[in-house]
Amino acid sequence: MPNYRDSEPVSLEPQTETLHGRLLNVSRMATIGEMAAGVAHELNQPLTAIANYAHACERLLGRTDMDPADIREAVHQIAIQTKRAADIIRRLRTLARNQPTERSPFNLNVLVQELYELLHTDALLHGTRLILDLAPHLPSVMVDPGQIQQVVFNFVRNGLEALGAAGRADPIIGIRTSPHGDGEVELAVTDNGPGLAPDAMKRLFDPFFSTKTNRTGLGLAISSTIARAHDGSVGYRPAEPNGACFYLRLPVSFGG
């Protein structure tokens, strides 16, 4: 009985079945930190139960008046709780396993627009304005839409958290799409927060690197993995005049 649902940041009426499924996937992955904490908590329950039964058996076996039926009952319960722990781990593995990606030609603008409502609600909850600046006639990219939306979501989440910590008067997040150089499109998420310290920039996309104490630091590392899997890249540059800018670059799909 996992309780991940508690930590889902936003719920909204889905426009279509597929969008709903994709958004669920996005928000599920976006809260991976909470998920890890949830799994740890869940595993702790059967482990606690197993330890209690085992300790009780030790005590009972040391007594002359013990009833073997009690020991049998405890051992039986230990087996049940062990299976429960194994089930949790199996579920976690299923979650962690890379789902086979299905790629089709997509316009990044469309993926951003689909995600807009979710991001907008999230931004509102953080007292932040969300501004879209989408280039017209953007070439298509071959992508797994859910994964790319997850990258966008992670970037925006990152920005919202940075702005929240900075306590700015008029926090703004911008999402901009544009053609980039020869054969690439870029999606950039910009905030008007304090930006990043130089030493943080180097390790930014490392797994488990986080400037926030209660985050796992997996969001940007996952984004980086997704970008590489699409033959693209993610990066950081300071925003003008201040703030942070995270970008995703993807090769243009010539087939589509």
Binding site: A37, A40, H41, P46, T48, N52, Y53, A56, D70, R84
Partner: protein, 211 residues
């Protein structure tokens, strides 16, 4: 000690059936009587304030958390000692619980001996709480048996007034004051003026400001 007649009960409140039952089994193996409940609300509808024992309480539960249950119990003035059991990441919650008067807390999974030791200490505390409460209730009953006049005299005695002064204050004879005094000592079964004052301070301090 008539309260010893009701056996002590360890209440276990945890929404996780596996943990709940394992705790019951463990505590039974050391001869402790338990009562397991799956939620805070179940506990609230079951618990009787005159039931001696202690409460082993999970912090994280749906609908009403352990901390919320603690607050409810504090509101109604329940004195049952609470041992919180928390998950690994719940230290801030544990701190909050302690600030609100929790007896102790343990992180899951814990050593059985740690839990048993804490339960024994919590039961000691509960006995102490209950005997203090019973003691106060007995004193209050004795103080309530005083007449309004005797209460007046008691307030004056506590302020260290001499019989002569009291007699003048109250407009009665010194002899009458002496009779009141001895009736007060008799009714409260106080051994000395100092003991009498302490009893009043413990059980009904408002009486001392009575004019």
């Amino acid at each position: 000690m008539q309260q010893q007649q009701i056996p002590e009960t360890i209440y276990i409140v945890d929404d996780d059936e596996g943990v709940r039952n394992s705790l019951r089994f463990l505590l039974k193996s050391v001869g402790l009587a338990t009562r397991t409940l799956a939620s805070a609300t179940e506990f609230l509808s079951t618990y009787q304030a005159d039931q001696p024992g202690c409460l082993v309480l999970d912090v994280r539960m749906p609908t009403m958390s352990g901390l919320e249950l603690q607050q409810q119990l504090n509101l109604v003035g329940a004195t049952i000692p609470i041992i919180f059991i928390t998950g690994h990441g719940d230290v801030p919650m544990a701190v909050e619980a302690m600030q609100h008067g929790a007896f102790d807390f343990l992180q899951k999974p814990f050593r059985d001996q740690d839990l048993i030791d804490r339960i024994q200490k919590a039961l000691d505390r509960d006995r102490l709480n209950r005997s203090a409460l019973a003691h106060h209730a007995a004193i209050r009953a004795r103080l309530e048996s005083l007449t309004p006049r005797e209460r007046q005299v008691l307030a004056l005695m506590a302020r260290g007034k001499a019989n002569k002064v009291m007699a003048a204050d109250l407009g009665v004879s010194q002899r009458t004051v002496e009779i009141h005094r001895s009736r007060i000592m008799e009714k409260t079964s106080a051994g000395s003026l100092a003991q009498l004052v302490r009893m009043v301070m413990d059980a009904d301090p408002a009486l001392l400001s009575n004019d």
